[in-house]
């Protein structure tokens, strides 16, 4: 009888608006992936062949073989365009950015190795029985390391570069920047060890580090905030470029939410939950998303070599993001015992997010207008395109999840895990990689190998789909199983195949990070007079 009930519930899936919204959003992302694949595979136009055959690598160097003239021949695997010849970054700034990228990459490897292991534990729960490695202790190690270690350090590194470029001013204080770097790394290192040892703050997601650990992080962010504002204050342009709006706002808001969430003398009882909803969602929306939008407003037009489509849309998105995003935190506690009006405000804010998300993604896509042919010949633009598509689809998915009808089914299931990876990975990580591949070659003049950038991109993207799609299907089925009142353990066994797929997709994502780390090595660490770098010098 219950089986029949489950079948009929599954059949009624399509009447749930959230389901078809999600299916539509997902098909958008898949279509975009196919489009990128097509543009990468398509033979490129003539001017680019000419460009690649100009490469000094194929120039005659003497000897019989060397005298074979390659120019004018068709290259079946054309080489990607390297960065436009631009002056190298001044060494002091280059060193700062390079170290941020290197440390961020190290935290990415650490954090996702932990994540991969956690995914395996769903399939093989007895793989180890060591207290420091048990699931409940490791899960926050993963989330916090990729949040505060990987994403935050990469953002800061790219941000120092962007803020000084768009202000046309030297970074205010390199000393401050290095202190921030040390504090953030220290916080993540101490925090990770403490969590494994069983010392945590009491259970709020992304708030697992205790306040003394988070105080180190916050002190670093305060110094960075001073650094950014002081750099902007001595800008030699009249305007404050929009990137600086977003980045400075993100730094100010992060300091605010950390103070609200961590001041150690309040939040008794339900107060803790109300603040938790606020904190966890402002963390992702007002720190990561806000800062990344700022970076993208610089890097995307720079890589497309065209101005941003509409400055005003960027301003509209900025203010509406503040107005609506700040309200949405408690949508993580719909139907719980926090005040009903507060839940309704959060749902209202989630719907309002359609405005900044549509404005932002339309702005980025329209900046691409007329330049889509460049995607095939670039190794940074595909990362931007994926980031934009997930910004649109992932954020709208968040709105779709916030309604009471959909929240009832999806909340508490792995659907939310899929959502957080579509956003923190699909948006944040892909934009960060786009920025890193844009700026990396300009620090020592060393391009990463084209083949390994492609491998990184496709493994990460395909891995993300294999990770998220099964979890969304399984999460939906699980929520419906709960609703049809079947036994809880049946909802565990029904997840088993989806958890296996998640582990497979996660493995692809995880392996792609080692390829990325190799690319970082080639750009920032390898012998600085390698052939690749000589090529670039000659290109200039």
């Amino acid at each position: 009888m219950h089986f029949n009930l489950l079948i009929s519930v599954l059949a009624s899936l399509w009447t749930e608006p959230g389901i078809w919204i999600t299916v539509a959003l997902l098909s958008l992302a898949i279509l975009a992936a196919v489009a990128i694949a097509y543009s990468q595979a398509r033979p490129r136009n003539r001017t680019e062949f000419e460009r690649s055959s100009d490469s000094p690598r194929s120039a005659p160097t003497g000897g019989l073989i060397g005298n074979v003239d390659q120019s004018g021949k068709i290259h079946y695997l054309p080489s990607k365009k390297v960065g436009l010849p631009r002056p190298k970054i001044e060494p002091q700034l280059g060193r700062l950015v390079a170290w941020h990228i290197i440390a961020a990459t190290a935290w990415l490897l650490f954090g996702t190795t932990v994540g991969e292991y956690l995914g395996v534990k769903f399939v093989a729960p007895d793989i180890d029985q060591v207290s420091w490695l048990s699931f409940g202790r490791l899960r926050p190690v993963h989330t916090n390391a990729v949040f505060w270690g990987w994403s935050s350090l990469a953002m800061l590194g790219l941000g120092y570069y962007v803020t000084s470029v768009v202000s046309n001013a030297k970074l205010h204080s390199f000393r401050f920047a290095w202190i921030t770097f040390a504090l953030v790394n220290l916080a993540v290192a101490i925090g990770s060890i403490a969590l494994m040892a069983g010392i945590n703050n009491g259970g709020g997601e992304y708030r697992e580090y205790t306040w003394p650990v988070m105080a180190l992080f916050a002190a670093g962010i305060v110094l960075a905030l001073i650094n950014f504002i002081a750099t902007i204050a001595k800008r030699s342009t009249a305007d404050i470029y929009i990137s600086n709006w977003y980045m400075v706002a993100a730094l100010m808001f992060l300091v605010t939410i950390v103070l609200v969430a961590y001041l150690p003398f309040w939040q008794q009882g339900l107060g803790e939950t109300i603040v938790q909803g606020y904190y966890m969602h402002q963390g992702v929306g007002m720190w990561f998303m806000m800062f990344l939008l700022g970076l993208t407003y610089y890097f995307l037009p720079q890589q497309l070599n065209t101005p941003i489509f509409s400055y005003s849309l960027g301003i509209l998105a900025f203010w509406t993001q503040i107005i609506f995003y700040t309200l949405i935190g408690t949508h993580h506690f719909v139907f719980s015992s926090i005040p009903w009006w507060l839940q309704t405000v959060a749902i209202f804010g989630s719907v309002g997010m359609i405005i900044p998300v549509a404005a932002g993604s339309a702005n980025f896509l329209l900046t691409f207008r007329g330049s889509f042919h460049k995607v095939g010949g670039s190794y940074t633009l595909p990362f931007f395109l994926v980031g934009i598509v997930f910004y649109f689809t992932g954020s709208f998915q968040g709105t779709a999840e916030a309604f009471r009808t959909t929240n009832e089914i999806w909340h508490f299931t792995d659907f939310t895990v899929a959502h957080s990876h579509l956003t923190m990975y699909g948006i944040i990580a892909f934009f960060l990689w786009a920025g890193i591949y844009s700026i990396g070659p300009r620090i020592h003049g060393q391009e990463p190998p084209q083949a390994t950038v492609g491998a990184h991109f496709w493994m990460a993207l395909i891995g993300l789909f294999f990770y998220a799609v099964p979890l969304m299907i399984g999460g939906t089925e699980r929520g419906l199983a709960w609703k049809s009142d079947s036994a809880f353990i049946e909802s565990v066994t029904l997840m088993a195949p989806y958890w296996l797929w998640r582990a497979i997709g996660g493995t692809l994502m995880w392996l792609s990070h080692f390829v990325f780390a190799y690319n970082v090595y080639r750009m920032l660490i390898a012998n600085k007079t390698s052939p690749a770098s000589r090529d670039l010098q000659l290109n200039k």
Binding site: L5, S8, Q129, V130, W211, F318, I322, F335, P339, V492
Partner: protein
Amino acid sequence: MKYYEDHRKLFGTAIALFLGLTYFVAIAPALRNEAINEPLPGSEPLSSDEQAGKELYIANGCVACHTQQVRDIPMDASWGSRPSIAADYARSQRTDLWRNTATLMGTERTGPDLTDVGTRQPSVDWHLLHLYNPRAVVPESVMPAYPWMFQNTDMPAEGQKVVPVPDSYRRGSGKIVATEEALQLVAYLLSLKQVPLPDGSLTEAFAPEPTPLPASSASDGEASSTPQFDGARSYQKHCQACHQPTGKGLAGAFPPLAGSPIVLEEDPSKIVSIVMNGYDGRVSEGYAVMPPIGTTNNISPEELQAIVNYIRSSWGNDAPAAEIDQIRTALAE
């Protein structure tokens, strides 16, 4: 625009707007909820062992998979007899200077909700075995094992709790005894019980379905005026964790129901008494004490009849079905 050329004004406006909204959606409601909520009159503060257990629950990150909130929707009715209310969390105060309040509401339900687990599963022996290795009692479980809360010893000391671990899950030699930590964690889990509301009622209606699915309305049509219980399902809910889907129990921990003379007795009054009042008659054989599951879970005579008839007719058992009158008579005794 001049306004956008002055970084003080621009950033000042942004932070002022953010702070204002922060006060509106976070600071003010949090302060107000701190001020207006008090623990329910029937609730008790945690004992020192239970508090130590709660700290172990926090340290091991159990909140990553277990919620402690019964939402006000029918789907959550299986986790408690009423929706959680703000007063249920009023006893949660800051753990200490270094650590925040732990309401442990959670945001993932990979494992069951634990708001009322002390009512649902009151057996200490079951919890200990489950913590040592969850798969020993629930083969499909993906919960981590916590063997570091147990010790191996050849000679258990007086009063030490020996855990009857089946051989395939045993690690090391000798007997496996629970450490103080394991007992404290179980004490905390058993303390998790919903407190009756001050008017004396334990139950409060759940909010109606926001969107009734066609499937559920169809099943409503089938239901007659008296509630019908599916014995297999009620067994799964209340009995299976210990006595297992096979009815064979677990050697040395939970006795088999298949072929059990008590179950097969023609008069159901003994089995009714055991379900409702608990049983310690087989402790000398090494089995755990049976808790009064029927009473703590408020099982109705109809559901009890369904359970009794299910176990009397499954796994090769062939005792005659008990009539509802027999059940009522047995309950009256």
